[in-house]
Symmetry: C2
Subunit: 366 residues, 2 copies
């Protein structure tokens, strides 16, 4: 609980007292508010009791009236009736005040130390991508299918388990999993890949990886599209178009502009190439069907967003960290291409890629 | 959106259409409700627009009045004003109806296939515990401190990184981390361990591990307390008391009883031994300071809970899966002991441990 002009008070479970103390905030244990007492006071009504308890805790932190903003992840089924009841029993509190999420705003720009950490995550991420490429290109091939040492086809599940292993070896975490999708599945932007799919030459593989620091912390976000051995001409053409738009739109990025400008540019460039996009065909499932990028930091998706329905928070400010990830998807033609790197706006307003990694479609088999 | 007596409709982002289709539910893409249109209708008010959009989606799913219960994790700062506004613009909907979380109720009891999966997670968990014990007991010792191959003290951080590696090798995930705490820190129930702490002989180590299936799924939960090499007499005494209470309380468990009975029994037994507990000293930070256990499944903590302020959901029913984890904590004396296994109530009402693992305090150095 943070009152304007006062020190924040951290309420915590009795078992978390050391972790709470380590934050340096003022702390107060829930054990001073035994739920049983409040249940008695409210004739066993758990929601009433919870709201009354919350009212007391707020009062003890000096908050007994005025606007109150809420933050954080909650189970909405429990939290909604609780806060609704708090508003009823404490009408002097107004809870609807936070249309803007100030924590997101606070996280929107990063300082030098944060950039270092994100870049370090980027180096680890790309090193795992390199290990993956190395593993894939060293497999045996039979009838265009990759065959492992056990004589069986190499599957998406096998590659993902190796990726997880390498990430763990590097001491980082992979709380959101990764996308490793081949063929038709690569043509569906957020399909994470079908575990039993075997890896075959000449098919598009979309590999999107977004791990975070061990113990929780900063994320990185990165995508490459590969064809093992060779690429069919129609895939090469698609790849070249995405590659061209990627560089053209990224080259035009400017500090302090709305990120939606990049989204509009991307749509217009792809449409000029003959692809459908969500700019003029909002329900399309082919062509360019998502946003050009999103802010990146302690959350994998944070402000700024490149949505067309832009908000004030969606500007590229000095210190913004964000992804650029154009893509084209044709699931019925069994192919999809996406390229993604993470960027930041440096203090002098220049747009910089955080970590370099080759942009190549075809991985030659060794 | 699930209307009573009707099929559920899954609303989804356009990019997740394949994952949505795989659920077998009726699906409808958000792309049919472009946010820009609602923003225009609401003069750019994002909360109003979101609520109006939700109202339309509910109406399209056949819900335009009556009681509506909410479920799932949400950012409360965004969700609270949204649902509050929905209630205002759709007064025919009543949103406060879900004092009971029916998803938790649905998850409260497990069938045979679920028990198999949880038990399999238990086997993997205990195999990693065995590897950890094996690693620890094979280190060199100098001045009572474990020394690694690099000639440096073996730290909590080192052991945790190995645990994560072994879990990844077994194909499971560790989204919540684990507790590996030594000495004073072992005496603080939920301290996760100080990374730079060196491992020393004769100190209590609390090792609490709770991984889940790869890709998300069922959890297991398990704790042992170890002393490497030898145990001081006062630790042995504490361990024996926890061990005795563990078996006595577990032996008295009965199907269809409130889980709070076990919590009360535990408190009374520990108090008879001269320890403070939260039954009669709610704010104590020494002695027995937490609950005897909690339900376990797709979430690491789910119904039934053993809280004294028990609810209807907190009964041990056939199919309930739960932990038993008595502990005693004396941080100022540099020690803590907790023992934990996961149990279930089988269909005939018998209480069974899911996976056996030795209960021994002292790990002899090899």
């Amino acid at each position: 609980v943070k009152k304007r002009g006062a020190k924040a008070v951290l309420f915590h479970g009795p078992m978390e007292r050391d972790e709470a103390a380590r934050t340096g905030l003022e702390t107060r244990s829930y054990s001073y508010y035994p739920m049983d007492d409040f249940l008695k006071e409210c004739n066993g009504d758990r929601v009433q009791a919870g709201a009354l308890r919350l009212k007391r805790m707020l009062a003890d932190a000096g908050v007994s009236g005025g606007k109150l903003a809420l933050y954080g992840l909650s189970d909405i089924g429990t939290a909604y009736p609780l806060y609704r009841t708090l508003e009823r029993i404490a009408p002097e509190l107004a809870l609807d005040g936070n249309k803007t999420d100030i924590l997101s705003l606070a996280m929107a720009t990063k300082d030098a130390a944060e950039i270092d950490r994100i870049r370090k995550m980027g180096r680890i991420t790309t090193s795992v991508v390199a290990k993956t490429a190395d593993f894939l290109t060293h497999q045996r091939v039979k009838d265009d299918t990759l065959i492992g040492l056990d004589g069986k086809p190499v599957t998406v599940a096998k590659v993902k388990s190796l990726i997880n292993l390498w990430l763990a070896e590097a001491g980082v975490e992979n709380p959101e999993g990764c996308i490793f999708a081949i063929g038709r599945d690569a043509g569906v932007p957020h399909s994470t890949g079908i575990p039993e799919d075997a890896l075959r030459l000449g098919q598009t593989i979309v590999f999107d990886i977004y791990p975070c620091e061990g113990g929780g912390g900063y994320f990185y976000d990165f995508t490459r599209t590969w064809c093992l051995g060779y690429a069919p001409d129609e895939v090469k053409k698609l790849y070249d178009q995405v590659y061209q738009v990627y560089h053209e739109v990224t080259g035009k990025l400017q500090a302090n502009q709305p990120f939606s400008v990049a989204q509009r540019n991307t749509c217009e460039l792809f449409e000029a190439m003959g692809h459908k996009t969500i700019l003029n065909t909002p329900t399309t499932e082919e062509g360019y069907v998502h946003s050009i990028g999103h802010g990146l930091g302690l959350k994998i998706h944070e402000v700024p967003f490149s949505r067309l329905a832009a908000t004030e928070e969606d500007k590229l400010l000095p210190g913004s960290v964000f992804t650029m990830e154009p893509g084209l998807y044709y699931p019925e033609r069994g192919m999809g291409v996406r390229l993604e790197d993470s960027y930041w706006v440096n203090p002098s307003g220049k747009i910089e890629k955080l970590v370099d990694y080759p942009l190549e479609l075809v991985l030659e088999m060794k």
